[in-house]
């Protein structure tokens, strides 16, 4: 199992992630969070479908909310009691899935 990252480890990985994500990710309530916005519902749900396949394959799933063109996500590893490498890996997958969709 992937272990919970220390605060310093989270901050280092967050800085790295945000270099690619334009500072859009933050830590809130011990979860890695971001809101994505797309052109419309089809783009937003297409993003969710792509992420869902990755999540199921990795057996690591997001908490997320969708309202029309917006998808808010919160990533945490419940088994580890905090943010782990799995959450950063899923965040990177989300960046990749969002990058090629119309905003």
């Amino acid at each position: 199992m992937t272990g919970k990252l220390t605060t310093a480890e989270v901050q280092a990985r967050l800085a790295n992630l945000n270099q690619q994500a334009g500072g859009a990710w933050r830590v809130e309530d011990d979860k890695l969070v971001r809101e994505f916005r797309f052109k419309g519902f089809a783009e937003a749900f297409g993003f969710m479908a792509e992420v869902a396949l990755h999540a199921e394959k990795a057996d690591h799933h997001p908490e997320w909310q969708n309202v029309y063109n917006r998808v808010a996500v919160q990533l945490v590893t419940h088994d580890a009691g905090g943010i782990t490498e799995k959450d950063f890996a899923l965040a990177m997958r989300m960046e990749s899935a969002a990058a090629h969709r119309s905003k």
Copy 2:
């Protein structure tokens, strides 16, 4: 455009809906809400994918949250400022999509 239903109209339709849904739907903050639970993430996301296709076709989309096997939904017609027939139609679609998936 479908008009906002009166409180009495909403209650009548809610009673009808709940006959099929075992009382699972309620009105909260002027929205029609329910939480669905499935066997796992694949079943939950399969439900969301089926509903998403209907929603896009009808151009009427849910607000929803997914955490692993749970999907919480809130239905409201923002243009009409409340609950309309469109919301009850979407709720019925959700019942149908949930019915044939493993709980």
